[in-house]
């Protein structure tokens, strides 16, 4: 049994957001972090490891510097890392990305008791599409918005957070879960983990380039990279900030509201 965690290096949007003239994010000029939901996914996998002793593999697609993020995942407790990197993969949208990552996961191999963990969504694109698409392409059952996980034999009982409540779902392994921040509090890297995370014998860092994946049926010229991407980013911009709200505390708030709106000539 093993856990495979999909992680993504994203620009730190709490800092300065830079946009290139073509409308896409200027990632090179922004500081990077591990996508916060992915850290929750990793933590869920590490808790499964604490409970069962299973192996935890992390996988990402990104430029070579994404190795740093994978090493940090190892310092937190992951065992092995896979970095999918290659020019052929550049410019991929969620469809092409999930195509490539699914091929990467095929390369690792999915066994009957395995669980694949993804973050709900990344803070750069906010699509929440890659996780579910990977499950579809691997033909695995999926549960999204996971807020709690209990293992019961080769089944998982999963609590799924919805807007107006939650849903308990029983799912057979192998399966894919997309995790939300509320699932757990991600652990820190440990000093011991940090001083082991660059030890390739203990924690192999496998680079999956185009030649390594090209034989997978999911990888075709028209399913990966910019050419294989049916969606294109038209424009990126920072939305204008909303003003501060106003609390109406009088005994007759409806009348007070009507008064304010009338003064502003809205009604």
């Amino acid at each position: 049994m093993k856990a495979i965690v999909c992680v993504k290096q994203v620009p730190d949007t709490s800092g300065k957001v830079a946009v290139k003239p073509d409308g896409t994010l200027d990632r090179a000029s922004m500081a990077t972090i591990t996508n916060p939901d992915d850290l929750s996914a990793l933590e869920a996998a590490l808790r499964l490891k604490d409970a069962t002793g299973c192996e935890v593999d992390v996988i990402t697609m990104g430029p070579p510097p994404a190795e740093g993020m994978l090493r940090e995942c190892i310092a937190r407790g992951a065992d092995k890392a896979y970095l999918i990197s290659g020019r052929e993969f550049g410019g991929s949208d969620t469809f092409a990305t999930s195509q490539i990552i699914a091929a990467g996961i095929n390369k690792i191999g999915v066994e009957p008791e395995d669980v694949i963990f993804c973050g709900r969504q990344a803070i750069d694109g906010d699509t929440a599409q890659v996780g579910p698409q990977i499950a579809e392409k691997l033909g695995l059952p999926q549960v999204s918005y996971v807020a709690d996980i209990q293992k019961d034999g080769n089944e998982l009982v999963v609590k799924r957070m919805l807007e107006d409540g939650f849903m308990m779902v029983k799912v057979q392994t192998p399966c894919l879960l997309t995790c939300i921040k509320e699932l757990n509090e991600p652990r820190y890297m440990s000093v011991g983990g940090i001083f082991e995370c660059y030890d390739n014998e203990k924690h192999p860092m496998v680079v999956l380039d185009y030649p390594a994946l090209k034989d997978d049926p999911l990888i075709e010229v028209d399913t990966i990279g910019l050419k294989g991407s049916p969606t294109n980013v038209f424009k990126s911009f920072t939305p204008p900030q909303k003003g501060a709200g106003m609390m109406l505390t009088s005994d007759a708030p409806a009348a007070e509201l009507a008064d304010i709106l009338a003064k502003k000539h809205i009604i």
């Binding site: 000093v191 011991g192 001083f195 995370c197």
Partner: protein
Amino acid sequence: MDFTLTREQALAQKMYQEFAQNEVKPLAQEVDEEERFPEETVKKMAKLGMMGIYFPKEVGGTGADVLTYVMAVEEMSKVCGTTGVIISAHTSLCAAPIFENGTPEQKAKYLPKLCSGEWLGAFGLTEPGAGTDAQGQQTTAVETEDGWLLNGSKIFITNSGYADVFIIIAITGTVIDRRGRKAKEISAFIVERTDKGFSVGNHEKKMGIRGSSTCELIMEDCLIPKDRLLGKKGRGFQLAMATLDGGRIGIAAQALGIAEGALEETVAYVKERKQFGRPIAAFQNTQFELAEMKARINAAKYLVYAAAQKKQAVMNGAKVRYSVEAAEAKLIASRTASDVTRRCVQLFGGYGYTRDYPIERMMRDAKITEIYEGTSEVQMMVIAGDLLR
């Protein structure tokens, strides 16, 4: 000298900063106000391998290096001087002397539990009548058939209220020194909190590092097994001095952290605080103050890191001493901490004098670094002694 961090050291620094911001900083004011030892933080740090950072894995340590340890003390002290000294006293004053002087059995018994943080360590040298004059010890240890019988008391012992293992320095007899005079024979011992006849007295009410547990230790017919003698009989003074050489690097790191933390707070404050229609950062007096503080902090930092590197060389097997480097680092870093925090309070003005802002706490915390583990005057004696040898 190259101070470029290795990728592991850089990652450890990043982790420390995240941990300090999320776990240590939010408690700092409460720990100070309530004079509360942050037990929960110690448990968290232990889990992350921060209680035995530079000791090899064979003895239960994390297997990192001295600079990585120094940076842990520095980063915690940036936000909470109390938390910084807990790691320093535990690591440098208790685990280190056992690692450096212990028998294989002593190492096997104590180091794994100290490094994992299951046990907290402390060091008892100072007595009511023996501060800088460490030879003025009164605590005695008499060898009996059943073991060593200890009597006496120690004061101002860091971590003592919560420690499980204590290194205790005591007189074991008289010897004739090199000049033919009678002198006290001093030895070191490992005492456990649960040993009969050993007790911990009242918590001292201090000016700064108020969450740090500082108490008196009392030994009344405290009988410990024979195998608790640490190092050779009669070599306790040398052991204590060598231990303090290491400890001073830790305190220098604490001082450095306090100064850096105060400057960070001040840089943020002067950009916000407006007087005469402008942020006070726009005034040249503010800028010159900040610039000089920053330069002095970096000067101290290089001394602290250089001392850490020299100790690392010893860990790697070099037969060198680092007493002078440790003394220089502590002298300059502690004076920098006191100077910088005082100037930061001045830039904060009236707000800085209130306990609503962390800066007055930092000023109070800084002062102790000029006093404990050898006053600044002791550091100068060490440096001058080496110069005039």
